[in-house]
């Protein structure tokens, strides 16, 4: 690396994703087809053991109602009907209360919490000072000689979320690049502009109470990125984000 010093400064940025925890709601066509498939499955099936038992017990009950013979007294023991079992199971199911899909954070639109929008990816945005402006960006930090760009990105993540963050970085290669030239006031021969290389990582630990958040941060979905990022930056970031 004894070549002439390049005019671009290098930055490594990390796009930290919190993966979805619940399934997305079905589209209208999906719901219709799901209902159709269930109907077809029902039509083509045979009676199961439980249903056979139910049918037989219904017939027995009918016979007892019509002709009141005292064979049931001759049998002596109480028989649990399949219908009773079904009711018992239904009661048990109604007593169970699952966690709600729309959380409190959703209702209050608290964008700093991780519990929001459990069915989509959430990305970390931090407020950083670039030049003399405070901007919302993916966490980035300048590259220092002696480390790879992936290490730079990991350092950026650690700087904003603390050292004990568990994230799986997806590979050594950058996912995207954003190039910009410095405003004419500070542009020099050796310092034309900056190249920001983006890396992607999946958040593994579900709670960040241990992490020391050093700056203003937000967790936003892909659609909400537009509220915070500049259009050029947003275009480059959107290319490597799958919804």
């Amino acid at each position: 690396s004894a070549a002439a010093r390049r005019p671009w400064r290098l930055f490594g940025a990390m796009c930290l994703l919190r993966l979805p925890r619940i399934t997305q709601p079905l589209e209208k066509e999906e719901e219709e087809v799901a209902a159709l498939m269930e109907q077809i499955e029902l039509e083509r099936s045979l009676y199961s053991d439980h249903e056979m038992r139910k049918l037989e017990e219904e017939e027995q009950l009918k016979k007892k109602m019509e002709s009141l013979y005292d064979e049931d007294e001759a049998h002596g023991k109480t028989v649990i009907m399949a219908q009773d079992l079904e009711e018992k199971w239904e009661q048990k199911f109604l007593r169970f209360k699952a966690a709600p899909r729309i959380t409190d954070a959703d209702k209050s639109n608290d964008r700093t919490s991780l519990n929001r929008k459990l069915d989509s990816n959430l990305m970390l945005l931090v407020k950083q000072k670039i030049g003399n402006q405070e901007l919302w960006l993916l966490p980035q930090v300048e590259w220092q000689p002696g480390e790879t760009l992936r290490n730079t990105a990991e350092r950026a993540m650690a700087m904003f979320l603390g050292d004990h963050i568990q994230a799986k970085v997806l590979g050594n290669a950058p996912y995207g690049i954003y190039k910009y030239k410095f405003p004419k006031a500070i542009r020099t021969e050796n310092n034309v502009g900056a190249k920001v290389f983006f890396f992607k990582a999946f958040l593994q630990s579900s709670d960040l109470s241990q992490a020391e958040l050093k700056a203003d941060h937000l967790w936003v979905t892909k659609k909400e990125l537009g509220d915070y990022l500049h259009s050029e930056y947003l275009k480059k970031v959107n290319r490597f984000l799958l919804d």
């Binding site: 290098l10 039509e43 760009l149 983006f198």
Partner: protein, 190 residues
């Protein structure tokens, strides 16, 4: 035997009669017949016979092993007999023509929906790959060593494991009911 007839007429003589010189005492009749030569014969013939038997057994075993192993039956493909009885057939009203019409149209809409979904996925993946290629090109322009470090294979990435999403988020402080899971799958050995 002639000795029998002579001893049957028990004369009041003190000297016992011996029928043949092989008979050592009067009361024993057949104990001291010639038995000397037989043990030798038994050993030789038996050893040979046993060896021949062992070889035959070994040959049979080899033949069995050479034969192709039996195929393990796939239990999912064999319908149990109790489901072939007729009384299990469900009785539902027949499909009206409007209903079958609606079903066919719905399946056609579904085809289109899935095609659009697939195209969108492919487009997204293509954009992702293009973005990565562009980033790598720019990196190469910048510095060769960083580029080489970036295109190295990440050994720690695979095997990648992740639990899929469920319908509802996990309930904090939920105590699942206790129970034991007994595995009753049949294991076949060849």
């Amino acid at each position: 035997l002639c000795c029998f007839s002579s001893c049957s007429s028990w004369l009041p003589q003190r000297v016992p009669l011996r029928g043949s010189h092989w008979q050592s005492s009067l009361l024993e009749f057949r104990t001291s017949l010639p038995v000397r030569a037989q043990p030798k014969k038994k050993k030789k013939v038996d050893v040979k016979k046993e060896q021949a038997q062992k070889e035959r057994m070994k040959k049979k075993l080899k033949k069995l092993e050479k034969a192709a192993p039996e195929l393990i039956p796939i239990e999912d493909f064999i319908t149990p007999l109790k489901y072939t009885e007729n009384n299990r057939v469900r009785s539902l009203p027949a499909l009206s023509p409007e209903e079958s019409e609606r079903r066919v149209l719905l399946l056609k809409k579904w085809c289109l929906f899935k095609q659009k979904q697939d195209e969108a996925e492919k487009k997204a993946i293509k954009a992702l790959v293009e973005s990565q290629q562009e980033a790598l090109r720019e990196l190469q322009l910048e510095s060769e060593e960083l580029y080489q470090a970036a295109i190295l294979r990440d050994e720690g990435l695979f095997p990648f494991e992740r639990e899929g999403p469920s319908y509802t988020p996990p309930l904090p402080g939920y105590d699942p009911p206790e129970g034991k899971c007994i595995d009753v799958t049949k294991v076949y050995t060849q």
